[in-house]
């Protein structure tokens, strides 16, 4: 990402704060432009009115129960009104979050720390002939483990140098021409990672893979690297938080401030 390349934001916390504010503003603006503001205002006001009615007429059970029913109906109406802008908002923001999650949700492999690389094949026989070719900067720290029940082979690896490396999986034995690769990113800084490489499952690849599809005729169905999850230090009392929760809280706060400033009904 250009911002990373520019080196303006190297702290994940700063990036999340900046993104939350910008996205909070953009999403509020988008919500304002794509929603029926007047109808939302009326729906919210009526909800408040029915809530007040429960208090004002608390000794009159028919009013209390009737108002509760109206609150439920009013909530449905309000959600219905919020659904249209939701349609506009949900696709870009979901795609954006998925992309950001690859940089902010996981950390790259650290040098000299073991990690697992798992290959899944489509038939048990292929397990017998599967092998891995590693670049010189990555070495296997233990023999591969075959998990026959899951058609999986797991390698325990260690990287010695930062960088992006290709691990080559040979599914047809040492002399086979069929080989597929998986990128392994080794870095101590913020880096965009792809935890899994998949065959042609478009939606699954969209949400969890950042790499091209594995060939359809390959015996290998998927290759994954267990990048550790990233928790962002909040800078006080040792608290850490997953970036998405932090983004959720901060963008809500930013959205709340911007909706008040811009006079947008949400």
């Amino acid at each position: 990402m250009s911002l990373f390349a520019l080196g303006l934001f190297t702290s994940p916390l700063a990036i999340v704060v900046m993104l939350s504010v910008v996205i909070g503003l953009l999403m509020i603006l988008l919500f304002g432009y794509t929603s029926d503001q007047k109808a939302i205002g009326i729906a919210k006001d009526q909800l408040k009115a029915h809530l007040l009615a429960v208090r004002l007429y608390r000794d009159q059970l028919h009013v209390v129960m009737g108002s509760y029913g109206k609150v439920l109906r009013g909530t449905g109406r309000y959600l219905k009104l919020a659904f249209k802008p939701l349609l506009y908002v949900i696709i870009p923001i979901t795609l954006l979050i998925v992309q950001l999650d690859r940089s902010l949700g996981l950390t790259a492999i650290q040098t000299n720390k073991p990690f697992l690389l798992t290959a899944r094949v489509n038939n048990p026989q292929a397990l017998d002939s599967i092998s891995i070719d590693l670049p010189p900067e990555i070495t296997a720290s233990a023999p591969p483990v075959h998990v026959a029940a899951d058609n999986e082979v797991v390698w325990r690896l260690v990287a010695s140098q930062p960088g992006a490396y290709e691990a080559r999986i040979n599914a047809g034995g040492p002399n086979a021409t069929e080989a597929v690769t998986k990128t392994v990113r080794v870095s101590s800084e913020l880096a965009r990672v792809s935890p899994e490489r998949l065959r042609d499952h478009f939606w699954a690849r969209m949400f969890s893979s950042g790499e091209s599809a594995l060939p359809d005729n390959s015996a290998v169905e998927s290759i994954s690297v267990d990048y550790p999850e990233r928790n962002i230090p909040l800078g006080f009392a040792g608290y850490e938080m997953n970036w998405i929760w932090l983004f959720f809280i901060l963008s809500m706060i930013a959205g709340f401030i911007f909706k008040e400033l811009l006079g947008i009904q949400v």
Binding site: V71, I90, V98, V266
Partner: protein, 720 residues
């Protein structure tokens, strides 16, 4: 076709993408930005809070009922009706009602007349709304509730003040730099004394919904909900100050109720402002807060685009905006919240915009206008902003030709529509107890359109008969339809009463009573003066024995009471009798008709602890006459009688015997001469409560057949 196909595939792809996004289980996909996040969170919050409230209400309801039962036994145990619905139609005239009923125009009122009660309802002395409604709600004569007019007289300064409430800002201020920060609360003192009868109902556990009954500002605590009516001020603290924003230059001021504000044109954009209250942070008075706005005239389309704060809207000429919230910012976070409507009068060649008086925002009330405070907020949230000003229909603007007939009617019926909504909500919510609502529309429209109704009114002599609109007939028919809709909502356990505080008569001739007092030697002017400006500007008090202020009251300049009193208390009775003899039967020389049909010495009319605050004499004008506006405002003119050329052409501030109100009820009462003072005791009696000893009214008895059959007839459609 290919474009269509392309569009279709994009739509299909979008739908699939959306479904994938929504159904995908990853945590990242559960959040769709702050907008949707707020929607979801606030929905759950609303449901949660509603559930908590309802659960609490449900769980505690048996205990509360038990507590009430133990304390007061069954509140409705002795009640003849479970519910009483009282509709107040301010100024509905019994003679007109009878005439229109006989013409078949008012079928629902006729139904009430035939099955229940129709009668004249004796009004108060004087027949002025705040006086009569105060008597209605307290069950006592004005000597016990202290309201004698809209205005009361400050005897030290010979100046008027609002009779119903006194609003005082905080006493202490802290000075910081250029600001003088008020410290403490605004004091609102009710000047009306006496206890509203719904207070007694509440004490017995009977719930009341009270909407827009006059002289209920400031609202008092009781068991029920109340929205204050007549006498609620606007945000400036006045009884309604409209604003005409205009590019026309004019130096003259409006005589009544309005201000002229310049509109400045610059590059095709007009800039003006809405004047607001005085800045509470200013050290001295007179620093008016303002909200600026822009108008972009589009003469070709006969419209203009408005920009008021964050609100942007377009109005055609002759069109009103909705109620718009406006915030006057004083600084340091001190804001005043109001609402107003804009009316586009003209876009070419000049630009003119009428702005209603800035009403207190019911959704954000800076002064309490309801009990509990949340009731006005509830109504504003449920139906949108509504007029809160006591005299919300801008009669002054029509009088001053700032509004025309259509614009005034649109405004009046707009307010009326809002109150109908409130009434029907109260009817739905108040299945047991009292539900009362007063509609002012009847009063305002009769005041302003009697000129078309009367045969030869000076204010409409130039209007051919064929062009005179049947505004008053239409008004009565609208009210009848309202009755019909109310009748559909009530059952045999409900008593429906329709009452008015007074009737109506033509106001064709004005009488300046101060001029009469001057010409008859009771009021003296300063040397060399033949007339006096407003509020007795040129009156020589050292030689004045009597003066008048307000609509019917005449005051002696009494030693020891007035600051410059001249009349010895021992001579007061004789002087009052002398003035009474001279005024009673006074003939208008121009027409030969009697201009004053009754003069009443208040000591003989009122009894109670506040009679000293009353005027000394009440003047009862004859039909067709009333005090001139000049006289009301303490001005002395050369002429005593004059034609009334204003749109304000009907009135009731005359001899109270000539303008009784109406009484309709769904069940028949046995009472030959019912009076408005009887309503409170009657309602208490019907709910089985004992009457407070200070009541002046007498409860009416239900006819035996009314007790036996308490089923009101269904509503019928009005004749067309």
């Amino acid at each position: 076709m290919s474009r269509l196909c392309g569009g279709k595939s994009v739509r299909v792809a979008s739908v699939f993408l959306l479904i994938a996004v929504v159904l995908s289980p990853a945590v990242a996909h559960a959040y769709a930005g702050p907008g949707a996040g707020f929607a979801v969170l606030s929905s759950f919050w609303a449901i949660f809070v509603a559930f908590l409230y309802s659960f609490y209400a449900l769980m505690t309801w048996p205990f509360r009922q038990l507590f009430r039962f133990l304390r007061r036994r069954n509140a409705y145990g002795k009640a003849i009706f479970e519910r009483a619905v009282i509709l107040g139609f301010d100024g509905m005239d019994p003679e007109l009602a009878e005439r229109f009923m006989n013409e078949g125009r008012l079928p629902n009122l006729a139904k009430l007349r035939d099955r229940g009660t129709f009668s004249k309802l004796r009004t108060t002395f004087p027949a002025i709304s705040p006086v009569a409604w105060s008597t209605f709600l307290t069950g006592v004569n004005p000597g016990k509730h202290n309201i004698y007019d809209f205005l009361a007289c400050d005897r030290n300064h010979y100046l008027p003040y609002l009779s119903s409430a006194e609003i005082k800002g905080p006493k202490r201020h802290i000075k910081i730099g250029k600001y003088s920060i008020p410290f403490g609360k605004t004091e609102i003192k009710a000047m009306r004394k006496g206890t509203p009868f719904w207070h007694w109902l509440g004490k017995a556990g009977i719930f009341s919904s009270v909407i827009r009954v006059p002289v209920t500002f400031p609202p008092e605590k009781f068991q029920g909900v109340l929205l204050s009516g007549m006498c609620v001020p606007d945000l400036k603290g006045s009884q309604g100050t409209f604003c005409l924003c205009t590019t026309r230059s004019a130096s003259d001021k409006f005589r009544e109720g309005g201000v002229r504000v310049p509109v400045e044109r610059k590059n095709g954009v007009c800039h003006s402002y809405v004047p607001g209250p005085d800045n509470p942070l200013a050290e001295t008075a007179g620093h008016e807060l303002r909200v600026k706005y822009e108008v972009r005239p589009e003469p070709a389309a006969n419209q203009a685009r408005f920009s008021v704060g964050s609100e942007k809207f377009t109005l055609k000429v002759g069109e009103y905006s909705e109620w718009l919230p406006i915030e006057f910012k004083a600084g340091l976070g001190f804001n005043a919240h109001g609402i107003c409507r804009f009316y586009l009068k003209e876009v070419s060649p000049e630009v003119e915009v009428y702005v209603t008086p800035v009403n207190i925002d019911p959704g954000h009330p800076d002064l309490p206008i309801s009990h509990p405070v949340t009731y006005s907020i509830y109504l504003a949230k449920l139906y949108g902003a509504f007029a809160t000003l006591g005299l919300a229909e801008d009669t002054w603007a029509l009088n001053e030709h700032v509004l025309d007939d259509d614009a005034f009617l649109a405004q009046a019926y707009g307010n009326h529509h809002d109150r109908e909504q409130m009434l029907f909500d109260a009817l739905e919510k108040t299945q047991q107890g009292l539900c009362t609502c007063v509609f002012d529309t009847t009063d305002r429209i009769q005041h302003m359109f009697w000129r078309y109704f009367a045969e030869d009114h000076p204010a409409a002599r130039d209007v051919p008969k064929a062009e005179r609109r049947e505004v008053i007939q239409d008004l009565y028919q609208r009210m009848d339809k309202l009755i019909g809709r109310v009748m559909e909502k009530i059952d045999d356990k409900t008593l429906l009463m329709v009452i008015s505080d007074h009737g109506f008569k033509s106001f064709a001739r004005c009488m300046n009573l101060n001029a009469w007092l001057h010409q008859n030697g009771y009021l003296a002017l300063k040397d060399g003066k033949t007339e006096s400006g407003d509020w007795f500007e040129d009156v020589d008090w050292s030689r004045t024995r009597a003066y008048t202020m307000g609509l019917n009251g005449l005051y002696l300049n009494l030693k020891g009471r007035e600051k410059q009193g001249t009349v010895d208390p021992s001579e007061a009775a004789a002087l009052k009798e002398e003035i009474k003899q001279k005024l009673n039967g006074l003939v208008d020389p121009a027409s030969g008709t009697v201009g004053i049909t009754g003069v009443f010495i208040t000591g003989n009319v009122y009894r109670g602890p506040y009679t000293d605050n009353a005027p000394d004499i009440l003047v009862g004008y004859g039909a067709g006459y009333r005090a001139s506006w000049d006289s009301v405002m303490g001005k002395v003119t050369a002429k005593i009688f004059e034609d009334n050329l204003k749109a304000w052409s009907g009135d009731h501030c005359i001899d109270p015997r000539l303008v009784p109100g109406v009484l309709f009820s769904s069940h028949k009462f046995i009472e030959e001469k019912p009076a408005i003072v009887d309503v409170a005791p009657t309602i208490l009696k019907l709910f089985g409560l004992s009457l407070p000893s200070h009541f002046d009214g007498k409860p009416w008895d239900l006819a035996p057949q009314a007790l036996a059959t308490k089923t009101p007839e269904p509503a019928v459609a009005p004749a067309t």
